[in-house]
Amino acid sequence: MKIGVVTFPGTLDDRDAARAVRHAGGEAIALWHNDADLHGVDAVILPGGFSYGDYLRCGAISRFSPVMEPIIKAAQGGMPLLGICNGFQVLAEAHLIPGALTRNHELHFLCHDQKLTIENGNTAWTSSYSQGQEVVIPLKNGEGAYMCDDETLAMLEGEGRIVARYVGENPNGSRNLIAGVTNERGNIVGLMPHPEHAIDSLTGPSADGLGFFTSVLKAMVQ
């Protein structure tokens, strides 16, 4: 099972995402932003970081990279696609999922261990979790406030497309404590916290994040 991990200039958590893929039992394939070839991968992860230095807007320049063209096409055809943090921002800029990520409401970069509930265990990336399961996964960003208009919000809530929600105090000002969303089909997921940093309790707060990566391997077998 091959999972592509994209590196844009300024991407930071690509090697961590690749490590998480390996821990889950998959094969991680490095994809270069300038190379419009997916090299036969079965799924793609857009990792965290500060691609293009967050110039203009986070993810605004990355979304036009050559590698995004085949990714968008494949994702529209059902290929599993996960955007983590900066990756979520790229998905939003590319309109693959609705809404946008804006500056944290307290204006500071915030890194802490965040409690979440997994609210949708039916996506390609969350099938390893049970509905409503509580997990602890690191959150680390400066622009993580999820915004969308009222109509979109109603739709996302109504259709159960909120993948994960923050528990407790709102860490960044996201509407309805939204930490992650999915598209209609459930193959594209955008997530603000970093599951690749919660794959063992040696280097993270828990192993709760591994489920994202085992889920997609199961999905691919099917």
């Binding site: 200039p9 300024g10 930071l12 958590d13 090697r15 961590d16 490590r19 970081g49 500060f50 293009y52 230095g53 967050d54 110039y55 500071h108 970069f109 915030l110 890194c111 802490h112 690191p138 680390k140 400066g142 970093h194 690749e196 940093h197 040696l202 280097t203 993270g204």
Partner: protein
């Protein structure tokens, strides 16, 4: 302004030159003329002025820093010593680790965000230049009083700058310090440390060897950043009422540096460079003269080839520019094409600007005209060496007479009040407001970070080999006794490495002092260096490099002497490390080491405005035995937890331990007031499973370290004798301070 060439300088020997405005003294100017046999061109004058400034030439500190080499312990572990961009130590399994700490104090006072950001950028480039992948950063920070208006001006910007730059580079921040003291008002200290890892074969040095090899400048374009920053800022103190020295601050772009790191590592992996130097203080002046003097001896540079962001810059300005994110590599002609290809892949600006020559000339031309022709060693290494006068200041004997007279708690109510006060005081309060702005997870190898005693990073995923780093300083003790203060800081940093069970291996240092022109300050400096050198020799730890920051004073008032000592250690398996605290009931708590009446220089004394007294005398033999005990505690699986005692004494240590994993403790102490408040060095609190009691007793006896049972873990309170403080109340006191101060 017409171009001042070598020919014109020869023809107009008496033309007046602004050497004083550039920071050169008349005797230094005369010496330059002697070296060149003529007056310098304005470009040469610019080069000498930056390179001979205190910050670059270490002219006031060299004679003292020699001790680190003279008193150096002979060790095979030291692969690269003082003199290169950073020191390198062997940590086993074919890995070499490089680390260094540097200051960026004055720029951070002027422009907090950019000062701190470029401070991080600079130290990271020093590590990269050694051929290593940077893997972590730490930031010891010192500010004026927490509630001072100027602290509120500089602290948020500095923290945002450290985080903004470090996070964007993808470097986990694994620790640091936040210290408040009147002494730093007007002179905040921003020290930044970086650690990097590589294989032995990857080590790169700053040598321009091989005539005919090419000089290649890559990274950001050159602009007007920090022109004159080095010599103007770092070598002059601030006038209390003077105008802000605004134009000399550098502006950083961490994205460019991140790309520079990845590009450089690919270049290193293909072995494409013969030598490499980053451009930091004094920019091109430094890089060219240092590379040339480190190698074949000479270099030819076409300055007009330097890619510019600002086409209006004069040659002098280009030579002095401190634009960030630039590197200078020496590349064999046969390898240049591949070098350029890799730069293009990463979209990094790259230009061949010259070539290495034999002989003793650094020749720089501007559109064909020779504007610099100097012997490079005279610029980079043979700068002035001062033997500044030193004199023990009168205050030393005066403060030793002071008797500390502070309230010592004894009743339950007094104990409660004291513990809560210490928990909430800014120097000891929870620092999450700061550290939550730093990414501690990126790269996926962080094992320990704030608030643990040391930062720890795994460097091999298979063997779980790891390194630990800690920084410490105690300006209170250094003030009372600079010689002992330096030794005590060294011991504390080494102890902080050892509590997790890692073995201290090497030392770096950032020496922050007032003006070297003040004999009293110079005496403090000399004593601190002597103490550190003696201490390192006794403890068998080589000094791998470091940084000196002078002129930290406002008017005639210098900061308290603040030598920050960084210690790096190694641990064979990070999975076996001893954590800082416990998360279950039923463990026994022991205090390792004896407690004396050491309130002089303590946090409690400081809180009562008493700064005098007699500092403790370091007992490094005992500290080394304690380190052996701590390492044995891990390898023999005796300790469940270990946390060292420092500022705030036992009170702070217990507070931090019970709050870490929300597990209380019940403790019985004799002479409770002194027991809680004293800051006698060489002490650690450990938690053990009762089944390990005999093992602990035996090991402690072997190492001749006193061990005293003080209590047990468990419950939802911290109970000291009759005093009971719920964890809820203690946590509130501990965590509200920074929120109240900084929002």
């Amino acid at each position: 302004m017409s171009l001042d060439t070598v020919a014109i300088a020869e023809a107009n020997p008496d033309a007046p030159q602004p050497f004083a405005e550039l920071g050169l003294k008349p005797d230094e100017y005369a010496r330059i003329k002697e070296i060149l046999g003529r007056r310098p061109t304005s470009s040469e004058l610019a080069m000498y002025s930056v390179m001979w400034s205190e910050h670059c030439s270490y002219k006031s500190s060299k004679v003292h820093l020699k001790q680190f080499g003279d008193k150096a312990v002979k060790t095979d572990a030291l692969l690269v010593g003082i003199g290169e961009n950073a020191g390198v130590v062997d940590v086993g399994q074919g890995y070499a680790v490089t680390f260094k700490i540097e200051s960026h104090n004055h720029p951070s006072f002027i422009e907090p965000y950019q000062g701190a950001a470029t401070g991080v950028g600079g130290i990271v480039r020093d590590i990269l230049t050694m051929g290593a992948r940077p893997i972590a950063v730490m930031d010891p920070l010192r500010f004026g009083p927490a509630d001072a208006a100027d602290t509120r001006r500089v602290l948020p910007g500095i923290v945002a700058g450290v985080g903004g730059y470090g996070n964007c580079l993808g470097l986990p921040n694994i620790g640091g310090e936040v210290v408040f003291d009147e002494t730093y008002l007007g002179n905040p200290l921003v020290n930044a440390l970086c650690v990097g890892v590589m294989k032995h074969s990857d080590i790169k040095l700053a040598k321009a060897a091989g005539a005919g090899n090419l000089v290649v400048l890559y990274g950001a374009k050159t602009g007007g950043d920090g022109i004159g920053g080095v010599s103007v800022l770092a070598s002059e103190t601030f006038e209390s009422k003077g105008p802000a020295k605004r134009p000399a601050v550098q502006v950083g772009d961490p994205f460019v540096e991140k790309v520079l790191i990845e590009c450089s590592l690919e270049i290193f992996a293909e072995d494409l460079v013969v030598g490499i130097q980053d451009l930091g203080g004094a920019g091109l002046s430094c890089a060219t003269s240092e590379l040339a003097s480190g190698g074949s001896g000479g270099m030819k540079v076409q300055l007009d080839k330097v890619p510019l962001r600002d086409p209006s810059l004069s040659p002098e300005e280009i030579l002095m520019s401190e634009s960030q994110e630039r590197m200078c590599a020496i590349v064999e002609p046969s390898k240049v094409a591949r070098f350029l290809e890799i730069c293009e892949k990463w979209d990094v600006t790259v230009t061949v600007i010259g070539e290495v020559t034999d002989g003793n000339h650094l020749e720089i031309t501007w559109n064909g005209e020779l504007i610099v022709d100097v012997p490079p060693r005279t610029v980079a290494h043979d700068g002035p060496v001062y033997n500044r006068p030193l004199a023990q200041p009168a205050y030393i004997d005066e403060v030793a007479e002071e008797v500390i007279n502070v309230p010592i708690p004894s009743t339950a109510a007094e104990i409660r009040e004291t513990v809560l006060k210490l928990a909430a005081t800014p120097n000891l309060a929870d620092k999450s407001w700061v550290t939550d702005q730093y990414d501690r997870y990126v790269q996926g190898n962080s094992i320990q970070s704030q608030p643990d005693d040391s930062g720890m990073v795994r460097i091999d995923e298979n063997t779980h080999l790891g390194v630990a780093v800690a920084t410490d300083a105690n300006a209170n003790w250094s003030y009372l006794n600079p010689y002992e203060g330096a030794k005590l800081a060294l011991a504390e940093a080494a102890r902080n490495i050892a509590t997790a069970g890692a073995k201290p291996l090497a030392v770096t240092n950032c020496l922050n002092f007032g003006s070297p022109e003040d004999p009293g300050v110079m005496w403090q400096f000399a004593e601190s260096v002597r103490g550190l050198a003696d201490g390192c020799l006794e403890m068998g730890l080589p000094v791998t490099g470091g940084n000196v920051s002078f002129y930290n004073q406002t008017g005639a008032v210098a900061i308290l002497p603040t030598p920050v000592i960084g210690v790096l250690g190694v641990i064979d398996d990070v999975r076996t490390r001893t954590p800082m605290s416990f998360d279950r009931a039923g463990l026994d708590l022991y205090l390792l080491g004896e407690t004396a009446n050491d309130l002089a220089g303590s946090e409690w004394a400081y809180m009562h405005k008493q700064r005098g007294g007699v500092a403790p005398i370091a007992d490094l033999q005992r500290e080394m035995r304690l380190i052996e005990l701590l390492v044995a505690g891990r390898t023999k699986k005796i300790f469940t937890a270990a946390h060292d005692l420092s500022q705030g004494g036992l009170s702070a240590t217990l507070t931090e331990m019970v709050l870490r994993y929300n597990t209380g403790a019940t403790v019985q102490l004799d002479n409770v007031g002194i027991s809680l408040l004293s800051e006698t060095p060489g002490r650690v609190v450990v938690a053990i499973d009762p089944t390990q009691t005999a093992a602990l007793t035996q090991e402690a006896a072997t190492q001749k370290i006193a061990v005293t049972k003080i209590g047990v873990t468990g419950g939802d309170s911290l109970i000291i004798n009759d005093a009971k403080i719920s964890l809820t109340e203690l946590r509130a006191a501990h965590t509200e301070t920074f929120k109240k101060l900084f929002g």
